[in-house]
Amino acid sequence: MEIDVKFFASLRERMGRTSDKVTLDQPAATVAVVWAKVSSEPMPSNILVAVNKEYTDLNQALKGGDEVAFFPPVTGG
């Protein structure tokens, strides 16, 4: 299945890209698997995760077409 990945703010600069697309074979793959596909480093502890624009965590299972976003703590407006 295909997963859309987005990065924001300082993490976007660190990753060198705004978005990515990853293909996962495993059924019920989690966000953690997506992170491992986009980075060779462990996810920094302060990074937040959203799936389909709702906050969640690395354990969330995904389905095809899900949008996964990684970003640093928000600062407010």
Partner: protein, 156 residues
């Protein structure tokens, strides 16, 4: 209820007037409380010449709308308007507008404060400041648990 995040310049009072004219029945609301936040030219003692406000299109609006909905359920108010800047902003630019219409001014004050507290503390924006020395740096936020921060906000 209307929530807009825009990279265009924000004219807050034109936005209030437009919303009131097009969305509210005249002669009913009695009062409107608004907060307009503008960019300051300093932060933590350093002079700031510009700021880039990053956001997550779709998610940012959705979360602000949820908080506006909470405000409309929590207080006896008629309508809430939020307009927030994104992109490059400069000192004295208006960044955020929250306007709340109500027949009861206490409700309007409380609801407006609730929404702006969320926006300033927890809304999904990321600030990148440029100082007079040309240094660019992402503003850090200490709170890492949006859930915990939200309950603090509610009990405040």
């Amino acid at each position: 209820m209307k929530v807009v995040v825009q990279t265009d310049k924000l004219d807050p009072y034109q936005a209030i007037t437009h919303h009131e004219t097009t969305e509210l029945e005249s002669g009913k609301h009695g009062g409107v409380v608004s907060f307009v936040g503008t960019m300051r030219d300093f932060n933590d003692g350093e002079d700031v010449t510009a700021m880039n406000l990053d956001y997550y299109p779709g998610m940012t609006e959705k979360h602000i709308e949820q908080v506006c909905q909470e405000a409309m359920e929590g207080w006896d108010v008629m309508d809430v308007l939020v307009v927030h800047r994104a992109g490059d902003v400069y000192p004295s630019d208006p960044i955020v507008l929250v306007a709340v219409w109500s027949a009861h001014r206490a409700a309007a004050f409380d609801a407006c404060r609730y929404v702006i507290n969320y926006l300033k503390e927890r809304a999904p924006f990321w600030k990148c400041e440029v100082t007079t020395e040309g240094k660019k740096h992402w503003v850090e936020h200490n709170s890492e648990d949006p859930g915990a921060a939200k309950s603090r906000l509610k009990s405040a």
